[in-house]
Symmetry: C2
Subunit: 648 residues, 2 copies
């Protein structure tokens, strides 16, 4: 894909972050603005505030360097501080809300919440609370919290308690992508630390990652899992930049690729001046200029991405076109798909060629069932013209509003070749039998908009040797990790939303194993048992059950199941949303996502079984799903369709 | 412990269960009653009902042995059955509700819900639904469901769906304790199968175990885990019985021990006639007679068990004696403890001996803080008399109702030696300093009724070399498995109850590792920082944090944490509810149970970390807890005391 300047890319937010513990706020803010930064990360307190942390109750008063008479350092007064004495003015770097919109507050890195010393631990918690509540009071939107050390349960607990009290403020936790103290076999160590910490904190939505990139990036498989995490900031230390011929900072190809991938989620970028002073030529401004350049040279969005813009990771309920009538705008969006209808036209064209010998006068009867506003009718007419075959077309539609458009289309464009019929295809008494039945009833999961049931009903007016387009469709699933999607579903705070599938443009996800087929529907269905009127007696032939085993090479947290379909329209004409065989440029379907109530931790090289059911009563169709691993199993979700179902 | 006939043991319910597929209901019921059984397990349908299961749509009509003209066996009519045709009268063994109170219905064992054949699977589900809904309609209290085979996800799903519709009826799932088809290294295989199945079914409260005992019982460690399971029935096949000298059936010592332990949970017993005809002499009645004999010869309940009778696994909220005034009946129950007050008397006695030389005229000042209705005052007086020491006693009590009793006690029994004081020990201005401070403020978790905070407040009127009884108390925890307790908490359907500790007489539980100490409180506390009035400035010195690692030898499901205390009253006088050092016969405290929201599966020989906190604000004290394993972690429960706390 060509790299060229893309003017449509929004400006990326880039902040400055200087390493020093003490600084003058006015100078720092001016300098950051002068070097083109959108915000700056500054420590909340001066380093002398540290004295509270390491107090000793029996320490000599003279050891304490406090010059404020209002605060004598005897034991009792130290206890008063612990009881909640306000900040002393001189302890603060961020003293007021003058620069609130431009600042991110940094919590002191020397707090030690998991010290073995009870007093240091307690004082650290008081300091943490005092700092966070101060910047939260000032209305800050973000705080940078220190990297968790090896032992961090008490840090997690203290943070967890504060998270619940925050309204505007988000906590960015500084997480180095690689623990540089350790050997490189530990690429997942920092991810696991983060993962455990946020689990302790109940996946709190106010807690996100400020991911700090190292000089040497690990292999891509280890980077992959980070895309499933809520990354609100990416910290780029100046030392990770290479130097180009002119002495300016640039990133390695590998870093560029990763940074561009991260950019899709629109995090804040932070240039961390680690004082290595590697690129004197451009000055501090040159890092942000380079990152902005990278952002501008992102590949242009393809058609699907353009269409999906704003829909990434957004949970939509699947359509219920059978129970509810679609709106005109919904038809309009889907009719714009440049690929889908071309595939249908091609399928009808080949079916016509196969069905009737050239030069024959024979008329082929095509029935478009669920014609909507008529795109498949138009395409069928075009296919017939191209194939030089005579056709008679019926367009059957149950939606009274769409039927108005069909009437217009017939009178203005189609003419006599097309008969329009108002009614449900399952009930219609057709005047003749069809050669070709054309329908577009598929959902993201293939059968989830009840294509099988609708086509069963229509099958009675298809000749016994007739053709159905599509002729089959298969459903595929993959185990998926996405703390973002999981917390979106959690936000509803009920079971129902965890037992509902969502149509979603997957972005902040890691697919844990290749999709596998779970079941397939074929039309016409010769095995169906019908009553005297040609209707199926019951719907058991459309129930399905499948157990699929997946091998998960790179561990992660299993948050749910991604679903896709692949359909054979006619012979070798395939329409697919499966990543491997996706019909290029087709945007009508996003994948479907089935959440798991309780996430399951999967170590690398583990095996999981996913059980999936398609079930039916006389009124509805629904799915149930569960996951079984040797590290724990889920319950069977959506029992009896209690939370989600599709009405027949 | 001596075995003797215990007349107080309630009659155990014993049922009969014959192996045959077809039977006459009237004969069977009469025979079971004649042989002294309380109920009988009978198949719901005749074996010819099986024809529906293995139908083939293209099978010749003549192959089907149905003589009912209303039900012709062509394809359409088979589909009609699948659509919901009622039972044919002749298919049923249990035809009406004549014997409802005496019967448990057995679901056909030949249903095959996990067949690879879609049609067999579908028909099996229909048969399962039809059978269960029939006996549920008749008002049966129990159904015996077939043993899950190796592959059982679809069985679980089908059952799960029905469980939600049951009102009176419970499903007993037949689970052989040992899978006799397998080698003996697989003692936990059947437990794991059951465990997975009930996890699939969301731990449904209507689903329980009918545990079938084998000829050879595995080692005790493998039996242990079953005590944490909801066992509603114990099936005893006749083949497991030995033959005594007179030719009558008896159980091996090992079987006897296990059966008696099971009896504590009062399951139904079932004598399963496996047709081995081993004990002709006694006839079928002799098995139930033997089991009733075992039940009658259960060891007599010890004092704790007598006291606890009816409280097993019953969740009680811990007392909040500081915020709420106890009722008279509560005092009365606890005053009856024969052991606790004897220990206190002994502690005061030894403290008096140590404090004052013999023959001295010196008066020892004893203050009983939280005197309640006065038992510790009486015991202190008795101790003084025995020790031949002069005492002056103050009895401080804040509960106005208890104070009425104290006035009576003073005027009628204690006289001038005792001064009674109405007020909160934390606020009282004492007229003099005490030599000995006596209190009984401990909860099941030691400090959970705020003994540390109350004694901090009382410490100002204790001489600097004074004695506190108790002088210290330590808190212990153990990881615990109990699906029963977990489902009791689940029944509330909210988070609050999962973040609340419960006082509970543990019975259906398996303790997964030995208790370990998490923290300790000592009195008097020399490190406390006090204000001018002698009160602590803040409560940080009473906060605690502990991380304990447990090695779990025999795997299981972690459902929560059991808590205990051990207290040093004075020197070597210990009062304990820790299983290993439990003060014999003391019944004042049951253990405490901290639930985990999401159970965690622990394989054998695994390691878990439990983090526990005692935290405090100026208004309240609370606990937070979380579990960390390499197979998953919990979140930190009860953050900020949001769900449970003790008011200061």
């Amino acid at each position: 894909m060509a790299n060229y300047i893309n003017k449509n890319v929004p400006r990326v937010a880039i902040g400055a972050f200087y390493g020093q513990e003490n600084c003058d706020i006015t100078l720092s803010v001016t300098s950051a603005k002068d070097t083109g930064h959108d915000f700056i990360i500054l420590p909340i307190t001066h380093s002398n505030y540290k004295r509270f942390l390491f107090d000793q109750v029996d320490k000599d008063i003279n050891d304490m360097q406090v010059n404020d008479n209002t605060f004598n350092n005897d034991k009792q007064h130290m206890e008063e501080w612990r009881k909640g004495h306000p900040f002393l003015k001189d302890d603060l770097i961020i003293k007021d809300n003058e620069h609130t919109d431009y600042l991110v507050g940094k919590i002191s890195e020397w707090i030690d919440l998991d010290s073995s010393n009870h007093r240091v631990r307690t004082n650290s918690e008081i300091a943490l609370n005092q700092q966070i509540s101060w910047v939260s009071h000032l209305g800050f939107t973000a705080i940078l919290a220190p990297t968790p050390t090896n032992s961090f349960a008490n840090y997690a607990r203290s943070l967890n308690r504060i998270l619940g009290s925050l309204t505007y403020t988000h906590v960015w936790m500084r997480i180095p992508l690689v623990n540089e103290d350790m050997s490189c076999s530990n690429e997942i160590e920092m991810w696991e630390r983060w993962n455990k910490l946020r689990t302790f904190c109940e996946n709190h939505s106010k807690l996100s990652v400020a991911l700090e990139l190292p000089v040497d990036l690990p292999d891509e498989v280890y980077l992959e899992r980070w895309f499933a995490e809520p990354i609100k900031a990416v910290i780029l230390p100046t030392k990770i930049f290479l130097t180009n011929a002119k002495g300016y900072p640039v990133l390695s190809k590998k870093h560029q690729t990763f940074v561009k991938k991260l950019m899709k989620n629109k995090p804040n970028f932070v240039i961390f001046d680690d004082m290595t002073n590697k690129h004197q030529n451009g000055g501090f401004a040159s890092y942000q200029e380079y990152i902005r350049h990278l952002n501008r040279t992102m590949p242009e969005l393809d058609q699907i991405e353009q269409f999906a813009s704003g829909y990434q990771d957004f949970l939509q309920s699947p359509l219920q076109p059978l129970m509810e009538n679609l709106e005109s705008s919904t038809y309009e969006i889907f009719e714009k798909d440049p690929v889908k209808y071309a595939l249908y036209e091609k399928a009808v064209y080949h079916a016509l060629l196969d069905r009737v010998a050239p030069e024959s006068n024979q008329i082929t009867v095509i029935m478009v069932v669920g014609a909507g506003r008529g795109p498949l009718v138009t395409r069928s007419l075009q296919a017939a013209e191209k194939a030089k075959r005579n056709v008679r077309i019926y367009a059957v539609e149950k939606n009274p509003n769409a039927f108005v458009t069909l009437q217009n289309m017939k009178s203005q464009e189609w003419g006599d070749k097309v008969t329009i019929v108002f009614g449900d295809m399952r009930k219609w008494k057709s005047p003749e039998q069809a050669d070709i039945l054309v329908s577009e009833l598929l959902g993201s999961f293939g059968d989830n908009e009840l294509s099988p049931e609708c086509l069963d009903g229509a099958q009675k007016f298809l000749k016994s040797d007739g053709i159905s387009i599509p002729s089959s469709y298969s459903t595929f699933i993959s185990p998926l990790s996405s703390s973002k999607l999981h917390s979106e579903v959690s936000a509803y705070k009920d079971l129902t939303h965890f037992e509902t599938p969502y149509v979603v443009m997957l972005q902040s996800v890691a697919i844990l194993a290749k999709p596998q087929e779970i079941w397939k529907f074929e039309h016409p269905n010769g095995l169906m048992i019908i009553d005297n009127e040609g209707n199926p007696i019951n719907n058991y032939h459309n129930t399905r059950y499948s157990k699929i085993t997946f091998n998960v090479k790179n561990g992660g947290i299993l948050h749910g199941i991604a679903g896709y379909f692949e359909s054979v329209l006619y012979k070798n004409i395939i329409m697919s949303i499966l990543p491997e065989t996706h019909s290029e440029g087709m945007f009508s379907w996003f994948p479907i996502f089935f959440p798991l109530k309780t996430p399951i931790y999967l170590p690398s090289n583990s095996t999981i079984d996913i059980h999936f059911w398609r079930l039916s009563s006389s009124q509805k169709v629904w799915y149930e799903w569960c996951v079984d691993t040797s590290f724990g199993s889920s319950f069977i979700q959506n029992v009896g369709g209690r939370s989600s179902w599709i009405g027949l």
